[in-house]
Symmetry: C2
Subunit: 241 residues, 2 copies
Amino acid sequence: MTKRKFNPISVAIVGQGNVGFHLYHELLKTTDIRVEQFNSRKKNSLKAFDVAIIAVSDNAIAEVSKYIKARLVVHTSGSTNIDVLENETRKGVFYPLQSFTKEKTVDFSKIPICGEAKTKEDNNTLESLASRLRSSYYQIGSEERKYIHVAAVFVNNFTNHMFKTAHDILEEHHIPNNILMPLIKETVEKIDRLTPEEAQTGPAIRNDEKTIQNHLTLLNDSQKELYKTITESIQKNGEKL
Amino acid sequence: MTKRKFNPISVAIVGQGNVGFHLYHELLKTTDIRVEQFNSRKKNSLKAFDVAIIAVSDNAIAEVSKYIKARLVVHTSGSTNIDVLENETRKGVFYPLQSFTKEKTVDFSKIPICGEAKTKEDNNTLESLASRLRSSYYQIGSEERKYIHVAAVFVNNFTNHMFKTAHDILEEHHIPNNILMPLIKETVEKIDRLTPEEAQTGPAIRNDEKTIQNHLTLLNDSQKELYKTITESIQKNGEKL
């Protein structure tokens, strides 16, 4: 940690989407950091800043980075290589592994930040930034980060779609959705103590064809396809009872 | 509530699987209930008991129930109709909406019990039993219960399989699995405040074909099929950004 050198850090946030919004507002609360937010559609130079954080959609990162002259330029994308950045100064990645929506506040102390940089010094800067956000910090290369990103899609987007499907089924039959909340919470609490393999139960892993067939009669075509594919995948993976 | 009449209740648990195990041990802790556990392979009469709870695999319920002469005979299955019971006394269902594994204790105060009975009196007995377990109680008919059961498969078994798949991806690339835990917890906390439809983010709902294609190159065939089917389902359902 080179606290003396990077104290205070001046940070520019480029982009006003969900990630930019939350990062900006969180950094505003810290001391020792001067933060400003910029519109990504302007050709920002940001020469006076220690760090520029580009929080824009993946396919805009290269174009936005071209004009930036901050000492260290990082993007926040899980699925984008560090070398997509086209700035002429130093490059890095500062990927907060979390799902952001403007409607909900996020607790940065519970966000793992996946950082990547090309020098130890830059890595220290990013680690120091993460620690001021009270976030945990992991040094992760571009190759590993891609896998983390796709795994995150499974546990977040796809899991949320399981909730959505269950929600639809209950709503259609006028059953209050909150009846499932304790089960949802237990599903997550279980994997604090057991591996997902040990935690698996239900008709798929039991090869209970009768229940599987009964379930299929209750679903619409789109739900049916989802049910079949996931059931087969559970069975192929041979999770234990 | 007919507290006087059903106080104390004598309860027989038939079956020694996960549900029977946890119900028995939880009821042992209560006062006012006399509980005994029985092997389901014996032809139990249980004539002396107020309630017999059959906690066996779905396809054994009919056979096991035949011999039972307790005043009220209930099964604990989410996907089995009340009329599958073949006892000559009164019938009911006492379905704890939770995923049980012997390795993990369960907090009954967080379990919704879906009860079904043919008379108000029996319904009161089941409600009283649930309240002694500190569980919430819902009166749910056999038809509705089937839908709750399939919805539970989505939020529990299928969600757990999303965790399993993510776990496999990270393990294969030597990335510590706990890096995803905060995201998993946030995924669930979000739907305390937002509907799953409002909570959805990610490449599928954004129709971000480039990221979707990149993700597919990282997965094995079985993961790929899962990814494609769920992505298409999210897109078909037209959840909002």
